[in-house]
Symmetry: C2
Subunit: 259 residues, 2 copies
Amino acid sequence: MLILKLGGSVVTHKEKPFTPHAENITRLAAEIAEADAQPLVVVHGGGSYGHPVATEYRIAEGYREPTQLTGFSKTHQAMVDLNGIIVRRLLDAGVPAFAVSPSSFIATEGGRITGIDLHVVERLIESGLVPVLYGDAVTDTSQGFAILSGDQLAVRLATGLGADRVVLGSDVDGVYTNDPKLDSDARLIEELSLSSRGGEAKIGDALNTDVTGGMQGKVAEAAEAVEAGIEVLLVNATVDGRVKAALRGENVIGTVLKR
Amino acid sequence: MLILKLGGSVVTHKEKPFTPHAENITRLAAEIAEADAQPLVVVHGGGSYGHPVATEYRIAEGYREPTQLTGFSKTHQAMVDLNGIIVRRLLDAGVPAFAVSPSSFIATEGGRITGIDLHVVERLIESGLVPVLYGDAVTDTSQGFAILSGDQLAVRLATGLGADRVVLGSDVDGVYTNDPKLDSDARLIEELSLSSRGGEAKIGDALNTDVTGGMQGKVAEAAEAVEAGIEVLLVNATVDGRVKAALRGENVIGTVLKR
């Protein structure tokens, strides 16, 4: 069982509101079809679909006033739209994708998933389908609502479903010794031991604002899966062939997270 | 707590594939906003969105061969599209609608809901939102997948949430003594006692083919809610003002189902 997370910066043009990255989506749908690695669950981020509305209505801060209800719903609808584009592209490529809406079955507590009922996701997988979930605006037992990041969701699906590997695809090659966009001497860390992670300065932040956290948040989320003995691999999903190789278990440029 | 079901023949042009009935949807969104009857849950049917794909791939018959997986997913995506149109129209009218995907949390058994976890729906209602669900292509524990009708879902939501009233809006005024389209002497039955329902010939079938059953199926589904002491009202949602009056508990042309 594999979990593939595709970041919002991969599936959308992050700087242009509500603009899917059609080229990346089409290429990745073909890579997923060619890798033929089932059972598989796909999770994608929001990028320029989820974030503008979520930010405008301050959804991540929780419920403060009634006008946010509209924003909460619109944030979800934006994600439904993006998800529909990705699911249809996967179907076109021959991947039996099926849309699953996180906010329809997950309520967080303070922004964190405390329990998750995976019986429908398991049934979809047993049927030979590839469930496609996403970072979503979800109800929250303590703050009314919250933003559930695709990273958190991917890791919880991995531990809950007993996945063998999680592939986290973003727009950077992995974790660097320093921010490669600021330091030309920065080196890609091929294997990162979380127990010796130490100084946060070691982890280059992902570019652009992301209401659900960049590379540092990604590594912190992934720790739960790594602790559970699941292999977590960070790869650059914007580079041709990396996701396909990662799904196949082949050698690929990226960062493997270790205990 | 009210449950409003809007039939596929109300929200779509049933004879034209993938064509929403924009006029009805806009009018009903305004009626729902004006009725201001919260807590409220809305369920809608598939009409020309759900049925063409479901019929082509024979989804209602359950899993028979792999090509159906694509059809199963496409049936769901068609419903997601229709749901998105309805949710956005409700938001525009000032109703805090929120899309909930049935197939993301409900698996049927032989086409019937056996258990249903309503914690997310309840949390949405507590937040002041109006969950909007729909008849959907769902996984099924005995036949792989099935079509969950909006009628069955509406009734199960009513009993599960302890609703006071279920309003089933279709394109006919209610239950007639005979099919009014064949018999000009047919009279509308204002109160139908289910215990004395007797001959099925009494119940005029809804027009057009409906893979999930017409008026007879509607009354049979509703029986569960009626037994639980919930008022069930059949009204013509294509006629201006009927749904608004029904939501407000005012006198309205239709059929009330009784024990």
